[in-house]
């Protein structure tokens, strides 16, 4: 026997009826690795952290991020980086500056060539990391040192993320038209529903027909 539903499409799935043995635990990585996504809300604004996605690779992560984080809100660019590629400092309190607190360690690994790193700052706990700028270095530690000198004295900084620029998949300037789909779908906006007009009209009709 298969399961019968009010929805014929569910009935057609031929789902088994009755008690099933417990499902096997999902295997590790069934849901893939995680990537962190940053968006640019409007032209010229700093890239800001919006959240993670799970994906099998960078390109798919970008697609998922586009669906998840730009579908409903204005967006003019997106960056995606694998979580494991991001170096994270400790967190400090909202009134502190993490650069004053951390001891910069000797790098364990250095690249032969100097290369660019992206630096993200969290200004207040619970808010989102924002792109502070780019530095050139041969290691994460050196990048953090550079970041401290270049951007480190601007008020409280609770936490810093450092990631090599080559590990950030960035949306291209020439693909900009992919961000243009939001305004044409008005039915997804609260403002598209003029409920009060209908209610007022209804109430007036009720009044005029009342005995």
């Amino acid at each position: 026997m298969s399961l019968t539903s009010l929805d014929p499409r569910v009935t057609r799935l031929n789902l088994p009826e009755g008690e099933l043995p417990p499902a096997e635990p999902k295997p590790e990585l069934d849901q893939f690795e995680t990537y962190e996504t940053f968006h640019q809300k409007k032209e010229g604004a700093a890239y800001t952290y919006v959240g993670p996605v799970h994906a099998p690779n960078e390109e798919v992560a970008f697609l998922f991020s586009k669906e998840q984080y730009s579908r409903r809100a204005a967006c003019s660019g997106m960056w995606v980086a694998r979580t494991s590629h991001i170096m994270v400092t400790p967190y400090v309190g909202d009134a502190e500056n993490v650069y004053d607190v951390i001891r910069l360690e000797e790098p364990t690994e250095r690249s032969e060539q100097r290369e660019p790193y992206e630096i993200f700052h969290l200004k207040k706990r619970g808010k989102a990391h924002t792109h502070a700028g780019r530095v050139i270095a041969t290691s994460y530690q050196e990048a953090l040192q550079e970041a401290k000198q270049q951007f480190g004295d601007k008020g409280p900084i609770v936490n810093v993320w450092v990631v090599k620029s080559k590990h950030v998949l960035q949306s291209a300037e020439e693909d900009k038209d992919m961000w243009l789909t939001v305004p044409e779908k008005k039915y997804r906006e609260a403002t598209a529903y003029k409920v009060m007009d209908k209610i007022t009209k209804y109430k007036e009709e009720q009044k005029s027909t009342a005995p």
Binding site: L3, V50, P56, R125, A128, Y193, V195, K198
Partner: protein
């Protein structure tokens, strides 16, 4: 949308005695100052456990809640309504993804959460164990269940855990559309033909008990949650949220000339609070423990989707992939 009415496990205070008193004091001081907790901070095990439980239940509610509404996409009257219904369902599934990630930052993998959902070990909002018989049922869900969810989510967005707050801020922004869309759909029916009015009234009658259940058992029946309130895990009591919902939405139901199937429902002028008949809490317990009209179907649909899609995920998995939990 969200299934509120979290049923918290009895909080065992003795577990706190194993926590480092200095760290605990620092943690509580941070929350008292109004600072958020971030994933790598020290936190008591009880805080971690209850948050995982709450955020995970919330995520499951989003993904299961998409099922009764998804059913109506193909049969929504008219193209515009199909598009809107589809957009709403897509939002709900997106919310689940945001919430799973927030729970993951606390150390439970998405694989484990999905396994626990399918095996009935973790709960989701009880309301989704009821069927959406007609288009009008779908409208009532879109309006009033989402309205309840918003009351709940706006409260939780002021909680103490950073990743959950970030997810809720995004979610609340999208819910504004759901609420208006649902209200518009109900108003359309209520101001339409006698048949349409009859349909929406019948749906409201069917959904009233689940809606009252939505915020969870009354405070006098709930386990002690004082410490969870102090830690800003639970932001308002079940009864307070239910009162807030009644305050906001009963007048909107009445102004359409619809009735609520509870003869005792009225605002008490002395207390300023709503009097109502307690819904059947035995039914609530029975349904949440698996014996509702749709529990089996909801989990079977979810399980089949996971099982039938497993080969695609296996084929896509990179052999060198290594899991790291999301950062924030």
């Amino acid at each position: 949308m969200y299934g509120g009415g979290n049923v918290f496990e009895a909080t065992k205070f003795d577990t706190l005695q194993n926590e480092d008193p200095a760290k605990l004091a620092e943690f509580e001081a941070r929350i008292a100052r109004g600072e958020k907790i971030e994933p790598t901070d020290w936190m008591p095990e009880l805080y971690r456990k209850q948050l995982i439980r709450m955020i995970e239940q919330h995520a499951h509610s989003e993904i299961i809640g998409a099922l009764p509404e998804g059913t109506w996409i193909t049969r929504a009257p008219g193209f515009r309504r199909k598009m809107a219904q589809m957009a709403k369902v897509q939002d709900e599934v997106g919310h689940a993804q945001l919430l799973y990630s927030a729970a993951e930052t606390l150390g439970k993998s998405r694989e484990q959460m999905l396994t626990d959902l399918i095996n009935g070990k973790s709960k989701y909002s009880n309301v989704f164990n009821y069927p959406a018989f007609t288009w009008a049922d779908s409208n009532i869900i879109s309006w009033l269940i989402d309205a309840g969810a918003i009351v709940n989510q706006l409260a939780n967005a002021k909680g103490s855990y950073g990743p959950y707050c970030r997810a809720l801020d995004r979610i609340c922004a999208e819910e504004a559309f759901h609420l208006k869309y649902g209200h518009d759909a109900v108003v359309h029916m209520a101001t339409g033909s006698p048949k349409q009015r009859e349909m929406i009234q019948a749906a409201l009658n069917r959904w009233w008990t689940p809606i009252m259940h939505f915020f969870g058992p009354p405070d006098k029946m709930s386990t002690h949650t004082e410490i969870l309130m102090r830690w800003k895990v639970k932001m308002a009591s079940n009864d307070d949220m239910r009162q807030q919902f009644l305050d906001m939405y009963v007048p909107k139901i009445w102004e359409l000339g619809l009735t609520v199937p509870d003869p005792n429902l009225k605002k008490n002028p002395e207390t300023g609070k709503w009097d109502y008949t307690e819904p059947d809490w035995e039914e609530f317990k029975r349904v949440i423990n698996g014996d509702g009209p749709c529990n089996t179907e909801r989990l079977a649909v979810r399980r089949t989707a996971e099982e039938r899609g497993a080969w695609v995920r296996r084929a896509l998995l990179h052999p060198k992939a290594k899991y790291v939990k999301p950062l924030a």
